[in-house]
């Protein structure tokens, strides 16, 4: 005679909940695993649906934060609510979790530090996914802000993982934190050139550039009388998204246009005065005069050689 064995009713272990003995059967354990697996699938389907339907309407960083919160929140709630199936009392778990948390916290300070820093990064939001940042000398695009670490894609395409504690406690430069950004050039012209004309030409070129902002207004002015050149400062504001393109394009345009108008960027120059015997002096003076005519530029660093 074959005994009537129901494997699903097979008691795996006993636990105590609210003062009563609770038998955890194989069926209850399978049910626990099945519900957990189902909730993982459901949470994934939900996140995929949300990502597809909201990607055009919500910024990427907010969307990712919301999706992560929903995903882990759903799993957490489901997990806690099905704990009685395997004979665990959620309230007891929370208490035990609290004590365990302190113990684990002391044991793994770095991980907890990163976790807490990640939490504060998400609240304070000094950086967002997609921002261009400089964190501790690492520059690039923020590709993800995770619970423990932040991922940065450098400009040359490398993926750098920075622990959140480091991100939170170091200086962060957000290169796109404001809508506009300024860049500056110093353009040197010869002393014999008309600085007013050069300023006018540069201002015209800036005016023709759509992404050189009307307000804050650009400023072009003589900033320094250098050793070999009159130095003109050019300061231009641009939308942060167009800043790099404009900065790399405009300088060469200024240089070419100035040259087309007869204004040149001088080389460093130095005038040498030679002290020679009297009979040779007239000839040398003639030579120097000739040289000055060719290089009709004032020079400022003089040195007498003996």
């Amino acid at each position: 005679m074959i005994p009537d064995i129901n494997f699903f009713d097979f008691v795996l272990y006993h636990t105590s909940m609210n003062g009563e003995v609770y038998n955890v059967t194989l069926a209850a354990l399978l049910k626990f695993v099945f519900i957990l697996a189902l909730s993982v699938v459901a949470a994934r389907v939900l996140t995929v649906y949300l990502r597809r339907s909201l990607q055009d309407r919500v910024s990427k960083d907010v969307l990712e934060a919301v999706i992560k919160l929903l995903y882990y929140g759903t799993l957490g709630v489901v997990f806690i609510s099905i704990l009685p199936l395997i004979g665990l009392d959620p309230s007891g778990l929370l208490l035990a979790g609290g004590v365990a948390g302190i113990v684990i916290g002391f044991a793994s300070q770095n991980i907890v530090g990163n976790l807490v820093s990640g939490f504060f990064l998400m609240i304070e939001r000094p950086i967002k996914i997609g921002d261009q940042v400089d964190v501790n000398g690492i520059s690039g695009y923020v590709s993800d802000i995770r619970v423990i670490s932040t991922l940065v894609r450098t400009y040359d395409g490398l993926l750098v993982r920075i622990p959140n504690e480091q991100v939170f406690t170091t200086n962060i430069t957000n290169l796109v934190g404001h809508p506009v950004r300024r860049f500056e050039y110093t353009v040197g012209i010869r002393y014999s050139d008309d600085a007013d004309a050069a300023i006018r030409i540069i201002k015209d070129l800036i005016d023709k550039e759509p992404f050189a902002l009307q307000n804050p207004a650009p400023s072009v002015f003589v900033n320094d009388l250098g050793d070999s050149s009159v130095n003109i400062s050019v300061r231009v504001w641009s939308p942060v998204s167009e800043w790099f393109g404009l900065k790399t394009r405009l300088l060469w345009v200024i240089k070419k246009t100035l040259e087309e108008n007869g204004i040149e960027v001088p080389f460093p120059q130095r005038v040498l005065h030679f002290e020679v015997e009297d009979k040779k002096r007239p000839q040398i003076i003639e030579d120097i005069k000739e040289a000055e005519e060719i290089e009709n530029v004032l020079n400022h660093e003089e040195r007498t050689l003996y």
């Binding site: 055009d56 309407r57 919500v58 404001h178 809508p179 506009v180 023709k208 759509p210 992404f211 902002l213 009307q214 307000n215 804050p216 504001w237 939308p239 998204s241 167009e242």
Partner: protein, 247 residues
């Protein structure tokens, strides 16, 4: 140039050359303006080309949905007053391709004949980048080249209890409605809340696009232009612009 064009088409105006010719089972779109040349291939046969003015926020690159119009001269408006003025705004020419059967539209090309400039409205730390345009203030609609500039009828309403100085108006492209016929037209309002803030929005013309306020003999119907922003599936975007950084 504006309007519906059956294919093949070849139009030329103000130095712009737009053509669409059939090559086998497809259409080839070509546009030339100054040094710029655009060529695209459209598959399928039953198509139609629509050229109309679009929101001036797409060239040289779409980086903002906001348009700032600076007035050439500052305006002063008394408390509680309501006045109507006319401004100019830059026009961009939008070229759309459409199915003849179901009228579904897709933007093919956008170009502009006027100078492009951007500006910042507000502070460096939290302002907004806007397309920039400087306009004279008119008391009646000026006559303009419709390929370059349009006329904006702006109703200013001072809801505050003090005089206000107005030197600019900022508009949001979402909600911008352009109409065209011999001219390009849009109608907007600016509700001034106090000396430093106002709210701007666009108003629709009557269903037949009639020019309101014009003499009866001068009335004519304007067509509503297809907008690039209007083609997009919008979520919760504000159709008004709140000017909180000064007027």
């Amino acid at each position: 140039m504006y309007g519906y064009h059956d294919l093949p088409v070849d139009v030329e105006e103000e130095g712009i050359s737009i053509s669409m010719e059939r090559v086998g089972e497809r259409w080839v779109y070509r546009r030339k303006f100054e040094d710029e040349e655009v060529e695209k291939i459209i598959l399928g046969t039953e198509k139609c080309l629509i050229i109309n003015p679009v929101e001036p926020l797409n060239t040289p690159k779409e980086i903002t949905p906001n348009l700032l119009i600076e007035f050439e001269k500052m305006l002063l408006l008394g408390a509680g007053e309501k006045q109507q003025i006319f401004l100019t705004f830059p026009v961009e020419i939008g070229i759309f391709i459409s199915e003849k059967t179901n009228k579904s539209l897709e933007i093919l090309d956008v170009l502009s004949l006027v100078k492009q400039k951007f500006t910042l409205y507000g502070e460096v730390s939290n302002g907004v980048v806007c397309k920039y345009w400087k306009s004279r203030v008119y008391t009646s609609p000026p006559s303009l080249n419709p390929l370059e500039e349009g006329v904006m009828e702006l109703t200013l309403r001072n809801t505050s209890s003090e005089w206000v100085k107005i030197s600019k108006a900022v508009f949001n492209a979402y909600g911008m409605k352009l109409y065209y016929d011999g001219d390009v037209f849009m109608k907007a309002r600016m509700d001034i809340l106090n000396k430093n803030s106002a709210e701007t929005s666009f108003e629709l013309l009557s269903p037949d696009g009639e020019r309101k306020g014009a003499l009866l003999k001068d009335r004519r119907a304007r067509k509503e232009a297809f907008g690039i922003y209007g083609l997009r599936k919008l979520g919760l975007v504000p159709l008004k612009f709140y000017m909180g950084w000064g007027l």
